[in-house]
């Protein structure tokens, strides 16, 4: 005869013997001394609004560019500004000057952490 499982539930299940399952350290239990720079690259979406305005103008004028001079120049200016900013940001990252503060990029963080590594 099968005994319904609910009868055992009050006592609960016997815990496993810890010696049967020795702990394995698959990954080291401490943080690495580096951070990856993936998050600093940021999103590449820029000038969406300008693009929308440009599309609206182009559609109204049947894709003849000479009627949309203002929109085109604004769009190109925006993109150029964005690219320049990106380039400058990359330059500053590559310079890697470590200054005190809490707003550090990944290269600066890595430099810091190399100086004060986790104890082995």
């Amino acid at each position: 005869m099968r005994i319904p499982g609910a009868l055992y539930a009050a006592r609960g299940r016997k815990p496993q013997n810890e010696k049967d399952v020795p702990f394995q350290e698959i990954l080291p239990l401490r943080l690495k001394n580096t951070v990856s720079g993936k998050a600093d690259s940021g999103s590449d979406v820029a000038c969406l609004q300008e693009m929308g305005v440009l599309f609206a103008c182009l559609k109204d004028n049947e894709f003849v560019e000479k009627y949309c001079h203002k929109e085109i120049s604004q769009f190109q200016k925006c993109y150029k500004f964005y690219m320049d900013r990106k380039f400058e940001a990359k330059q500053t990252v590559n310079q890697g000057i470590v200054q005190p503060g809490n707003n550090l990029n990944y290269k600066q963080l890595n430099k810091y952490m190399r100086r004060f590594p986790n104890p082995q």
């Binding site: 999103s43 590449d44 979406v45 820029a46 693009m51 929308g52 182009l58 894709f63 190109q76």
Partner: protein, 193 residues
């Protein structure tokens, strides 16, 4: 990637430079296609490089010269045939090339981006350099798509003349690209790379 350290200055074509004030700045060696001749043109140089096949640059240079000659001949013919509006016809073939390339430059480009297993054609703004490249590439592609018996300079001349006055296949190609970008504008926020 240049072999020069970053503090080296670009070579200048101008004869009177204020080198005396910056004489301590080292200058990169000039490339062998730079020249201070009055026939030198940066755009022209670029186009010659794109025309070149298998490193035969002298042939490319010849082809471009021939193209300019054809353009000039047709324009002079038009000038003679034109009755009243003689001012509107440009004969300077380099100016025409410049106009053609300016007219053919795209503003946007489609780049395929994979999201959730589906490839989306996402409109992306192009840099100035890339837009010049695409314009010249389209001009050349249109010129190379021809009968075997037609000489390249002839076809290229026609394409340049067409593009310079805002007609022809190259301009149509650019407008088609813009149209496609417009119809895919909903994906514009997908881009990340």
């Amino acid at each position: 990637m240049s072999m020069y350290p970053s503090h080296f200055a670009e070579p200048s074509l101008k004869k009177e430079t204020n080198r005396s004030s910056a004489s301590h700045i080292p200058v990169k060696a000039a490339t062998n296609d730079l020249s201070d001749s009055i026939f030198y043109g940066e755009l022209k140089n670029k186009l010659i490089k794109y025309i070149t096949k298998k490193g035969n640059k002298s042939l490319a240079r010849e082809l471009l010269t021939e193209t300019f000659e054809t353009i000039k001949r047709t324009q002079i013919e038009r000038l003679i045939l034109a009755g009243t509006e003689k001012e509107n016809i440009i004969i300077d073939s380099e100016q025409l090339l410049k106009n053609a390339i300016e007219n053919a430059r795209p503003l946007l480009q489609l780049s395929a981006i994979k999201r959730g297993g589906v490839k989306y054609q996402v409109p992306v703004p192009v840099t100035e350099k890339k837009s010049y490249f695409l314009a010249m590439k389209w001009l050349l592609d249109a010129a190379r798509e021809k009968d075997r018996k037609v000489h390249l300079p002839e076809k290229l001349a026609w394409e340049i003349l067409d593009a310079a006055c805002g007609q022809g296949r190259v301009i149509k190609k650019k407008n088609d690209l813009h149209r496609q970008c417009e119809s895919n504008r909903a994906y514009a926020h997908y881009r990340w790379s």
